[in-house]
Amino acid sequence: MPAIPRSAKFRPGLQFLRQFSRSPLALIGLVLITLIVLLAFFALVLSPQNPYDLMQLDIMDGRMPPGSEASAGFTFLFGSDNQGRDMLSAILHGLRISLIVGLGSAAIAFVIGTAFGLTAAYVGGKVETAMMRIVDLQLSFPTILSALLILALLGKSVGNVVFAIVLVEWATYARTARGAALTELRREYVEAARSLRLPHRNILFRQLLPNCLSPLVVLLTMQVARAITLEATLSFLGLGVPVTEPSLGLLISSGYEFMLSGTYWIALFPGIALLVTIFAINLVGDRLRQLLDPKAAPK
């Protein structure tokens, strides 16, 4: 039997972390992600004010530059917007929504796409061809357009944004999962499992899935970054999350009109927060790719 090329297996653990940390930049990325997640998680405690409680806002505090003092006593570290909202608090809250949407939609798309791709590869034949045609159809249509249309049809809400992102991202997982599964299906352990008459579900998810995980984990990391970017873009265009739940993209959008008149901080700081988040995730993703998927072309 010819040797089948083996990809590195994804085994999270101390040794993997040590290997991962050999790239200082990736380590910085990982630390940054941890920090960002913590900041978002404790946003309610860390924010000097609740940015969406109108009682706490003072219109007299509007458009204060970074470092000036609020009438409530704390300092506007990142300045305030036109309604006297502390930008630091708004960014922490926005980060929360951006992360929830990004992680949530990427995770759902991962589950749906992986199950779809594995099943297609496992079933094979005409069914597989038909299933992959659907994937091709989805992939051939530009992501931003599909998302824009879904939101135009369904209206603005956090749930709809997640739905739109899942719909444009699942196909990528399906394609990757199928590709990985096709090589794995030729191995002896699958044959062994089949001759033992293990239930299909068992072979698919207990035997096949763990061995296909490497390229999927790399993809997942990159797709989280893409989901966050897409959400921010949609919100910037005014078709993403509603004003009551502003993400970073929406903050940038509402700060944009003041930017041209010199009040740069309303849009600049949310923008930096967004950029640092995406960059940190991509740094980690790139390192994971080097370790787990050394042959795959970067994309």
């Binding site: 159809l137 249509f141 530009p142 824009l148 910037f236 265009l237 740069y264 740094l283 994309k299």
Partner: protein, 323 residues
């Protein structure tokens, strides 16, 4: 081969039809356009007349065939907002988008390929690492964010370049273009850069991966042993082999770039189809949305078809595999 092309063509038509069904169904999900069209003081008779005029009282399959007929005849109704035929409206805005997207693709090749060649030639050098980290940074930048920054820096702070509109245009073959006038080019610089940063990063990474793979190949080692200069090895021998995947990806990516110009056009007030579709979605201008979608679908099917055919013509291995 002929048989395969016919097969592929039929497939493409099938895909286009499937997309037409999806667009049509989606259209019906939006709801009836009657409320947006009728003036407030309209009577019940006005309402019925409008429904009959738009063909909304007929059975669904009949409406679908009318819609298909409209697609084939290039007649998809009149824009509610602009009061012009939707297809003509979209087509008149298309050149602006095409020249912006092509400029971005061109930039991505002009910058991406040399950067990738340099990074792949000596992957361990500090310079290569900076390029590769830069490329990660490049595809981390959301297109709308880089557009805002470009305007802030080059238009507002430095005042070097204009930030909105197309500038002066010159008519060529009956179509106005910006790239033929100096003023138009100045207007195009910022949007094109904003749109291309993602593509530049992608091309850089693709080229780098290709070069790294090529470096360990026989032909490069032979060329080195022969004493050829690095410049000659890279620009003559490696480049040829690396360009095949790069051109394929960039070719397929033209569609994505056109789609993402929605964002760039909105920020730079570039009068292309992207700007118009965002406005139309906001105003629920159905005919324009449908015309745009069908245009994108047809364009995509054609691009995929052409890339497929060219690929098969160029690479005999794929041809043999398929037959």
């Amino acid at each position: 081969m002929t048989l395969w092309i016919i097969q592929r063509l039929l497939q493409a038509i099938l895909v286009a039809l499937a997309m037409a069904v999806i667009v049509f169904v989606g259209l019906h999900l939006i709801g009836s356009p009657i409320e947006t069209l009728l003036p407030a003081e309209a009577t019940h008779e006005d309402r019925l007349r409008l429904i009959a005029d738009l063909g909304l009282d007929r059975p669904l399959y009949e409406q679908f065939f009318l819609f298909l007929k409209g697609v084939l005849q290039g007649n998809l109704g009149i824009s509610y907002v602009y009061k012009e035929p939707a297809v003509e409206l979209i087509l008149s805005r298309l050149p602006a988008t095409l020249e912006l997207a092509l400029a971005a693709v061109l930039l991505s090749l002009v910058f991406g390929v040399p950067l990738g060649l340099m990074a792949g030639w000596k992957p361990e050098s500090a310079f290569s690492r900076v390029i590769m980290i830069g490329s990660i940074f490049g595809f981390s930048l959301p297109i709308f964010w880089i557009a805002i920054l470009l305007i802030m820096i080059f238009s507002v702070q430095l005042g070097w370049l204009p930030s909105s509109g197309r500038g002066a245009t010159q008519t060529l073959f009956g179509i106005p273009w910006s790239f033929v006038t100096l003023d138009g080019l100045r207007h195009m610089v910022l949007p094109a850069i904003g749109l291309s940063l993602f593509n530049i990063s992608m091309v850089t990474r693709l080229t780098e991966a290709g070069v790294r793979e090529a470096m360990s190949s026989e032909y490069v080692r032979f060329a080195k042993a022969k004493g050829l200069s690095p410049r000659r090895i890279l620009s003559v021998h490696v480049l040829k082999n690396v360009m095949i995947p790069v051109v394929t990806v960039v070719g397929l990516d033209i569609g994505q770039t056109i789609a993402f110009s929605v964002v760039t056009e909105t920020i730079f007030a570039w009068p292309g189809v992207g700007k118009i579709i965002i406005d139309s979605i906001g105003a629920l201008d159905r005919p324009v949305i449908v015309a745009y979608l069908m245009l994108v679908v047809i364009m995509f099917v054609i691009i995929n078809l052409v890339v497929d055919v060219i690929y098969r013509l160029l690479d005999p291995r794929i041809r043999l595999q398929g037959e």
